[in-house]
């Protein structure tokens, strides 16, 4: 007891500092897997109507509700206009849209890069801090428990530790001549602006974003996986325009992804000493294709926007 007390005290002092820390610092790209389109069969998650009417079924339903309506159901942890399902379509069920059934059985996950093991809870905390530009709920909070239960249930019958086809977003090959922001702008105006707005600002009904913002203060921040042009191209190619996934060519997906990610958005919460350059060198330089800390039209991107 005598030895424990100082240790506990030290913990109590350290804890508040820890809470503000980044839960999953390494947000770099994950190992790609084959697209569902290329696979002979695709994993089928269970049906909502088959959920048991007990405490487990209720927790799963809570998780589903948080996933599709995050801004209202977990408001204190969300700092932008997004809901989880905006980037994980069909309530996290759709293959090639980073489905939760593809994710859950792959954790805890080892990352060689920083020699760390990340739990599933930490992965979700990371999504709150980057994609949702918000705060990480505590690992033992109702929000994390419910989202974990929902993911576990969706993965019913999936093998553990084996990457299933359709996990994450498929890799889309970069155009031979690189991406073209001007062409991206044209594609955006023709194919995306009707829903996401002329300035990527999204569209609302009352206080709720219905069509989510693609850039600006209410979108994902500079640390989120979607800020990588290659990651966004994979998502867009297979999932956008909504309901018409697969209609853009690989090149078009890259051009429009680059155009989208050449705009300002909230700052990377890992910002080092207030320096975009330092943050770029540490976190962005070797992470896929991205424009953080790069000059575009004479302006350095990555300044952040509030």
């Amino acid at each position: 007891m005598k030895i424990l007390m100082p240790a506990l005290l030290a913990l109590a002092i350290v804890a508040p500092v820890q809470a503000a820390k980044i839960a999953m610092e390494d947000q770099s790209q994950m190992q790609p897997v084959p697209a569902a389109a290329a696979a002979a069969s695709v994993f089928q998650p269970p049906q909502e109507q088959d959920l048991p009417a007990d405490a487990f079924g209720q927790l799963v339903q809570d998780g589903r509700a948080i996933f599709v309506d995050t801004r209202n159901q977990a408001a204190e942890y969300v700092g932008n206009g997004m809901n989880c399902t905006n980037c994980h379509l069909d309530q996290g069920r759709k293959a090639d849209s980073a489905p939760l059934w593809g994710a859950y059985p792959m954790y805890p996950a080892y990352r060689k890069k920083n020699n760390r093991v990340n739990s599933y809870a930490e992965r979700i905390q990371g999504c709150f801090q980057f994609s949702m530009n918000g705060k990480a709920p505590a690992v033992d909070s109702h929000v994390i428990n419910a989202l974990t239960a929902y993911s576990y249930w969706l993965a019913t019958g999936a093998p553990t530790g084996k990457a299933l086809p359709g996990r994450l977003y498929p890799v889309v090959a970069e155009p031979k001549g690189g991406y073209d922001l001007a062409r991206g702008e044209q594609i955006y105006a023709a194919q995306c602006a009707v829903c996401h707005g002329d300035n990527g600002q999204g569209q609302k009904s009352g206080n709720d974003y219905v069509l989510p913002p693609l850039w600006g203060k209410d979108s994902y921040n500079w640390g989120a996986g979607m800020h990588r042009i290659n990651t966004a191209a994979g998502f867009i190619k297979h999932n956008m325009p909504l309901g018409k996934g697969g209609s853009l060519s690989d090149e078009e997906a890259w051009h429009v992804a680059a155009f989208m990610n050449s705009h300002e958005r909230p700052q990377d919460p890992r910002l080092i000493d207030g320096s975009v350059e330092k943050t770029r060198d540490k976190y962005h330089a070797n992470d896929g294709v991205n424009l953080y800390g790069q000059m575009v039209n004479g302006v350095m991107l990555g300044q952040g926007i509030k």
Binding site: E48, Q61, R64, A65, V68, D69, N72, Q73, T85, L89, D90, Q91, R93, K94, A190, Q191, V194, C195, Q203, K204, S205, G206, D208, V210, L211, P241, L242, G243, K244, G245
Partner: protein
């Protein structure tokens, strides 16, 4: 000072003249346009703009002015075919279209519940509306038309407050190709993926949403 009053008076006169010339939306609604073929909207859509469910005439009250003006333009051009509306649209001037669209947009509409994707979905209609049918690339209706199908911006009209007759007629018009005025075939490709039974179910679902505070 005395001189500066003169141009002001001139401006007032101009404004007055403009007011006389501008089309009167309220008059268009209740009495029709300058051309007698442009019949009064109220005749079919009601003076309150809430439509006539049994006859399949839609609610226009509270729809966005931009959406309404586009639809009238589309009746004119024929990308939206309708034997009653086409001759009326052809008889309206641009000025009249804008004026009547603004008047209709400003009419009060009841408040419908903001049922969203977090809600339970029982039955095929509610499932299409709140969950979609993604195995056929059909998104949740509410993911564009907004919670409760209340409508979003100038592009996505409200579905709440429309009758099952009107909604199913529109879905079928898309399936048959008589309505093809949607941007990038966004609605057409969804409508064509629906079965007859699903058209009925999802139309019934939105038609059954009662205004807040009203009896069920």
């Amino acid at each position: 000072m005395t001189f500066s009053r003169l141009p002001l008076a001139g401006l007032c006169a101009l404004l007055l003249a403009a007011q006389v010339q501008a089309a009167d939306g309220q008059k268009l609604l209740t009495q029709g346009g300058a051309n007698p073929a442009a019949m009064a909207c109220a005749g079919c859509h009601g003076a309150d703009g809430m439509g006539m469910a049994a006859a399949g005439f839609p609610r226009l009250a509270g729809l966005s002015a931009g959406y309404l003006a586009k639809q009238i333009g589309d009746f004119r051009s024929g990308t939206r075919a309708n034997p009653i509306m086409q001759p009326i649209a052809a008889a309206l001037s641009d000025d009249e279209i804008n004026a009547v669209s603004r008047t209709l947009a400003a009419l009060p509409a009841p408040a419908y519940p903001r049922t969203g994707r977090a809600e339970k979905a029982e039955g095929s209609g509610a499932r299409l509306a709140l969950r979609g049918a993604w195995e056929r690339n059909i998104p949740e209706c509410v993911s564009c038309h907004g919670p409760g199908g209340l409508g979003v911006g100038d592009t996505f009209p409200p579905l709440a407050g429309q009758s099952a007759q009107y909604l199913s007629a529109q879905l079928n018009a898309w399936r048959q190709g008589t309505r093809k005025n949607d941007p990038a075939d966004l609605m057409g490709h969804v409508a064509r993926a629906l079965s007859d039974a699903e058209v009925t179910a999802v139309s019934d679902y939105f038609a059954s949403l009662n205004p807040q505070g009203a009896a069920q």
